[in-house]
Each structure stands twice: as structure tokens, then as C-alpha cells.
Symmetry: C2
Subunit: 467 residues, 2 copies
């Protein structure tokens, strides 16, 4: 108890002094992570203060993430999130190679198409055309919903006018889409269902909203519907976050039947579907039909989010969102409260780019290139790794999600570290689960930044490491 002693004289309120003192003890490891803090009664007695002072101090510690309260059992010290550590290690490894030449590293972590294929020159031309055409307008005008022209293009080119331009909201990429939808829909203690595993950027947003997060395992054609419905029966679910095509990280896509089942459940159990349609342009397997949740939605249940930055120029930070009628106003207000509006010039340039048919050309070009890479990657994985890993071919996208076979005595974090030492970068599955440990047997490899030679070399190295 002695370490809790602190001088309480002076004009600072006593509870603030006590809080500061305990924070210091935790930061310096004089109180261990998870250590039980003294009871309110005993600490107030020891420091000769009111019970209320200690209650306030513990509340403040809790607010600042330095303590957790367990019902009926007292307060416990909490050091900053420990699972964060690997995330840090991972992002530092990525930063390290960001400046390096392609030849030095074999980078299987790429999340966007390679720079080599980006239509930089034609986009520059379009940008200049817009500056000449619109002048000041393009730099000054702010439109809360987004540039009218772009919204019309999206309505015509991507939705065959089935979605009106007034129902389209331009956002600064899919991540912002998820953030503003969450702000409009999800409050503290609301319940959200996500796929397991899922995109870590979405998990972070839901955690930040202090939602209760339920995970439902992904299967080959979508989530496990039985487990999904069990959760729906027991809990008041607000929304379900899903990536309908080439789900990140598993690469799996929903069957149309499963989408319809989920839409029915949404109506029965009164929840909403947040559809993150992030990669559907890259379908290689012709058996996969493109029909989004949104296009199947008859009951105003689906909020649709689409990123252009994921597959086009990442630096332009543009995407769009189609709200449900019910949340239209609150989602639009959420956008305004988040950053007023998205940069107008880029929207105008993208609009012109789409109108000129350049978007379509770029996509079909990209589709062709990546389809052959995909097939190569698939065959090399089979050739080099088949006895050590299990996987299902996604039929599209830019990633494979591999499971290390049970008999191999190495998890994906160990593999990540060993591979990194050999200048090969992979993404361990731990990043995609609420409980990171559940991803220990999995890793993701993407081929978007990799040519054939590096592909072979890299997979060979992974093979050797898994021996």
C-alpha cells in the first residue's frame, strides 16, 4: 500500500493528484498491468480523504484508459493495449520499405494496384482540362453532397440511373464512408456484427464507437448463416458490416442466395447492412456474378460504400456512399460534421475521367493484367506451398488468404519476422480478428505489387521458412 502514498497539499484537487500519482505508478511498472487497485474504502482511509475523492480518482483513471472496473470486484490497473504491439511492428516494417526500391524487397502486403499501371498522364490531362474549364469554381466551391456532375456520372455509369444522383454522397474514400456511417448509426453499446476475419480499419472504427462487436465466421460463399441468426435472435443488432466481393482478408464472395437470406433477416430482425464494395471490379472467374447487396435491396436496408482510391489513384481520396432513406439526413450531417465536404477539384477530374470513358478502359486493362497475375500466383502457390498451406481460390481481387497446416510448428507472426529478415513481407492474419490470437495460423499475400520473378522468389523463400 505504501507506494500509493502521495502528498495532497496545494491547490490542485485531491482526486487529480491521486489520479496523476497512480498513472505514474502504472507507466513506470510500479503497478503491474491487471493488478488490483486498493478498494475505495482502504485507499481513502490510507490517504485520509473522503470515499468520493477516491471514487472520482478511479473514474478519471478509467476514463483515461488506465483502469477497468469489474462489476462487484473493484478496479484493476490497465497498461496501454498490448496487442497493439504487433500492429506497430507491422506498420513499421511497411514504412521501412516505403522508400526502398522494388528490387530490395518482395512485398506481398500491397493493398492497391501497382503504380506502373496508373493512368497518371491521362489523369493529369483531365485535371488540366478541368482547371481550364471551371477555373475558380473548382477550387472554391464546396458542395456538401459532392460535385453534382460526379454524382450524375456515378448514377449513370455505375447504377444505370437506378440510384438517383441525389441519393449519392461523395466521401473521401471508403474509410471515411465507414466512419461517417458509424457516427450516424452506431452509439455506445449498440451491437454490430462483422465478418470473421474482417478489415481492421472497420474494426477500429466500431471499437471507437464503443459498439459491442460480434463476429461471424466467413465461409466460401459468405458468412455462416446459422451462427449469424443465432446472434440476431439473442441480441438487438443495429448493423452488419460486410465486404460482398473478395472479402478482406479471406478473398471470399457472397453467393446471391446468401445475400438474399441476409436481406430477409435484416427485415425480420430490423438491422441495417453496411456494404463495403471495395474490389468488385476485379472479377476473373466468370462464374462469379456481380450483384451487390444494394442492387438486391427492396426494403431500404443497405448502406452502400464504394472507394475509388482502392483501385484507382490512392492519392485522390474519393469514394461514394448510398445511404438508406431512413438515415439519409443523419449520414449527410455526419459528413458535414466530419469534414464539411470533399475536395472539389479531384471530384471534377474524376467525373471528366469517367465521362470520357477512360475509367472503363483503365478497368478493363487492369482486369486483364491482374487476371494473368492471379492465375500465375495461384499456380505458384500450388506448386511451392501446397503441402504446407490450405487455401481457397477467390476468383478475383488481389490477395490470397493462406492457412498454415496444423502439423507445421510456426505461426504467422513468426513467419512474418523470419520472412522480413529475408526481405519478404507478408500480412499475418492476427490483424483481422477481434482476438488477434485467432489469426495466428493465417496470413495474407497480395500480388498487386509483384512481378513474376519476385513472385517465384518470394514464395520459394516462404516455402523454405515453413520447412
Amino acid at each position: 500500500m505504501d507506494k500509493y502514498f502521495v502528498n495532497l497539499e496545494g491547490e490542485t484537487p485531491k482526486y487529480v493528484i491521486i489520479t496523476k500519482h497512480i498513472k505514474k505508478l502504472i507507466d513506470t511498472n510500479n503497478i503491474e498491468d491487471g493488478e488490483k487497485l486498493p478498494s475505495i474504502r482502504s485507499l481513502s482511509k490510507f490517504l485520509k480523504v473522503n470515499n468520493v475523492t477516491i471514487v472520482n480518482a478511479y473514474k478519471k483513471l478509467q476514463n483515461e484508459g488506465y483502469a477497468v472496473q469489474k462489476m462487484g470486484s473493484g478496479s484493476y490497473a490497465k497498461k496501454k493495449d498490448i496487442t497493439k504491439n504487433f500492429r506497430k511492428e507491422y506498420s513499421e516494417a511497411l514504412k521501412k520499405i516505403a522508400g526502398k526500391a522494388m528490387q530490395e524487397y518482395i512485398d506481398f502486403t500491397g493493398e492497391t494496384p501497382s503504380n506502373n499501371f496508373f493512368p497518371v498522364q491521362s489523369f493529369k490531362d483531365v485535371l488540366n482540362e478541368v482547371l481550364d474549364r471551371d477555373g475558380a469554381e473548382a477550387l472554391i466551391y464546396q458542395e456538401a453532397l459532392g460535385y453534382e456532375g460526379l454524382r450524375t456520372s456515378i448514377s449513370e455509369v455505375f447504377w444505370n440511373k437506378n440510384i438517383k444522383s441525389d441519393n449519392i454522397l461523395i466521401v473521401s474514400g471508403a474509410q471515411q464512408g465507414i466512419d461517417i456511417v458509424s457516427k450516424a448509426l452506431i452509439n455506445t453499446n449498440d451491437s454490430v456484427i462483422v465478418e470473421k476475419p474482417t478489415y481492421s480499419g472497420a474494426l477500429s472504427v466500431f471499437k471507437w464507437r464503443r459498439a459491442n462487436i460480434y463476429e461471424v465466421p466467413m465461409e466460401e460463399n459468405g458468412i455462416d448463416i446459422d451462427k449469424f441468426e443465432k446472434i440476431l435472435k439473442k441480441n438487438n443488432i443495429k448493423c452488419f458490416y460486410t465486404m460482398s466481393y473478395f472479402q478482406n482478408p479471406t478473398g471470399m464472395s457472397y453467393s446471391i442466395r446468401k445475400k438474399q437470406q441476409i436481406l430477409n433477416l435484416a427485415e425480420i430482425y430490423d438491422f441495417y447492412i453496411i456494404e463495403d464494395d471495395y474490389l468488385a471490379e476485379l472479377i476473373y472467374d466468370k462464374r462469379i456474378e456481380y450483384k451487390s447487396f444494394k442492387s438486391l435491396d427492396k426494403n431500404d436496408r443497405v448502406i452502400y460504400i464504394k472507394s475509388f482510391s482502392k483501385i484507382f489513384l490512392p492519392g485522390i481520396r474519393i469514394g461514394y456512399l448510398i445511404p438508406t432513406a431512413r438515415f439519409k439526413e443523419s449520414i449527410e450531417n455526419s459528413k458535414i460534421n466530419t469534414d464539411i465536404s470533399t475536395s472539389s477539384l479531384m471530384q471534377r477530374a474524376l467525373d471528366l475521367y469517367i465521362r470520357k470513358g477512360l475509367w472503363k478502359d483503365y478497368m478493363s486493362n487492369l482486369n486483364e493484367i491482374y487476371k494473368s497475375r492471379y492465375l500465375l500466383m495461384e499456380s505458384y502457390i500450388k506448386l511451392y506451398l501446397e503441402d504446407k498451406i490450405e487455401f481457397i481460390s477467390p476468383g478475383g481481387g488481389i490477395n490470397f488468404y493462406l492457412k498454415i497446416k496444423d502439423f507445421i510448428d510456426m505461426d504467422s507472426i513468426q513467419l512474418f519476422r523470419k520472412a522480413k529478415n529475408k526481405n519478404v513481407l507478408i500480412t499475418p492474419g492476427t490483424l483481422f480478428y477481434k482476438n488477434p490470437l485467432e489469426g495466428k495460423r493465417y496470413f495474407k499475400i497480395g500480388f498487386s505489387q509483384i512481378d513474376e520473378d519476385s513472385m517465384k522468389k518470394g514464395l520459394n523463400i516462404i516455402n523454405e521458412l515453413l520447412e
Copy 2:
């Protein structure tokens, strides 16, 4: 009670059916706003269901904003926020004039400098120079902290290198700055102090974080320190949001002494200061010295937010943020979770614009133009309105905040409506208070979009309406 009857057969969970039914009753005014809902016991008896079913239904209503629970007294119906209505009327009036020619309306609601003064041509030239210089980089590369070059420029030009470029985070405007800082600092039930009145966009964000909001009245040289400290003494305050120069809407600026007092209090009561430095470039009264809270901060207490969109080209959506060391990591993560990063091309262009000295030229030009407008406006207000309104000259910025004298039998919402009918637009004070009614005697008029003729004409009309 009869109106509560609903058929509970079918596969939809009973509590969902009941919730839907009650929502409909509220939406259709069959249950009034504020009407007490039946007790759990009586409704469960009436509908022949378990108590738990009604508890779940009421919880769901509450989550969706259709009911509030009052401790020990039961649940009450809630219609969507009624104070929203005027906000809507106001923004619709603004939208209506957005497309019109300047001659048709006299617009005192302008929040940004007039388009006529924007350096569109020189910014376009700079944009093209960047596209030629950086090519693909400018459209592809994403930097979480923001473009290194721009962060260095900001460090050198605005902070004399006293703030390192690593401590600068580029954001998409001040509104985003407030949003991401709030996400990193403020959780449900945390307490925040704001100035009264204050910027409505900040109020919205704090409400959305479900913070407890305390207001402290603004005086001529900053907030009322006694009232401020009283709140600090009684409550565990997490942060204080302030606009240090030409506060929105009052136009008042903090004395250096008051800033120092607040910084001391921050250390004593362990809270943080969010400084929104949105207009300090426009100082006309030479007695006002520029020294931000941040520059006076010795104890890592101030999070500084600066918008470039407010005074420069609104469409470029760029600002920056200087976190405290303690929240640096969580604020940076908050930015990533919000929208990954800000559009790179615009950052590069702004950087080059600053490096070429064009920013400085533009600012001194703007300062000169607006100083003379400010003086004109001040003299015309005195000439036309002095017997009907009270005000304090701000000595800078682009607004005046006027109080309608007590003997006049008209509030600012009435004035807004009457003025609008005469094609004159003003901003009623009601938008800037937690309790809108407190702003009923005030209105804001800005001169950024107005030439001398319209100024005279518009003030004359306001004078006549107040007769």
C-alpha cells in the same frame, strides 16, 4: 392503451414488432412528443408478453432516439429534435441563394473571403508546376501524417521551427481537426467546456461524442474565468474548446493574461485545450498581439488546429493540427481511422504556394482589403443601428456580433425571416448555443461577401425592420 395493441404473430421477434409499432405511433403523432409510455408491467400485461420483451423494446426505442428513460419514472416518447427545425430553415435559405447572382441578395452570412480575391490563377499555375514536378507521386502516394514538404513549410514559415515537422499532422480542414481530436480524447460522458456562444460545428461533434457539455460565457477578453474555475472545481473536465482570435460568433479575442490563466488552470485541473485558430491572420487593430495558446504552452496542454480552407481556397480542404505529446499517437490513429490521409496533390500545391512566398502576399493583400471593409462596416453599423443594437468591435476578422436592445420587440429569428423576405440574409445567434433560446437577442453579420453599396443598403433594411 388501445393504440398500443399490435399483432405479435409471425417469425419476427416480438420486441421488434412492438418497437416498430411504437415508432410508427410516434412518427404519426399518435403518441405525442414527451408522452409517457406505458409502464413495463402494464404493457406486458396488455400485450400478454414477458416483461423482458417490453424492456427490450424500450431499450431499442431508446437506442434509436425514439424514447428517453428518466431514472425512476419510466420511458417517454421523443420526436426527432425540434430545435433542428430552425437550423433547417436557415440552411435552406442559404442554399437558395447559392446559385443566385450577387445582385439579387445581400448576404451577411458569408464565412469565407470573397471569391473575387482568391488567387485562382497563381494557384492553378502552382498546381500545374507540381504535376510536372512530381508526376505520379502526387496522385498515388499517401502519407498518414501528410506531405513531408508541407509539414516542413508550416514548421518554418508559421512556427519558426519551434514546432518540428514530425509534430504536425495534415488534416482536411478544421472541422476534421475537431472531429479527429474529439475521437481521440472524448468518450461518452466525458466533460467538455466550450465558450458560450460557440461554433455550431464543434458543438455538433461534441454532442455526437455524447460528451457532457458545459458552457462558459465569453467576455471582451475571453471567457469568464471565475465561472470557468467553478465548473473545473466541481467536474472532471477533459478538455476546453476555444477559438483564441475573433471567436465565432462573438468576434472577441483572448488577452494574453487570460490565456496564461487558462493554461495554469489546465495544469492544476489536468485538462487539455483544443485551440481552433481559425482567423488570426486578419488582425486590424494593432493593439491585438498574436500569441496563440500553443505558443504559450509549456506543459503539453494545447492541441492546436489551423484551417487553410477558412481564409484561403475553401475547396482545397486542408488544415493542420499540432497534437500534445501525450495524445500524438492516438490522434494520428484517429486520422487514419477517419480517412487514411488527405489528398496529396493539394498538399503539394499548397506547399509550393507557401514556399514561393505567394501565401504571404495573398494574406497581406487580403488584410488590407478587409481592414478597410471592416472600418466601413463598423462606421455604418454605428451610423444606422446604434440606437437599436449593442456591440463590441472585434478589431479583426470578418464578422460583427450584434445584440438587439431590450426595448425592441423582435428576436433575431423574426428578424432573420423578415430580412430574408427583403433579400437580406443574417445569421441568428440561436445557432451558437446549447440552448438555442439563449441566442434569441443576438445576430451575426459578416462583411466578407459584401461591397460598400450592399453594406449600406442591407444595414438600412435591418434598421427599418427593427423600427
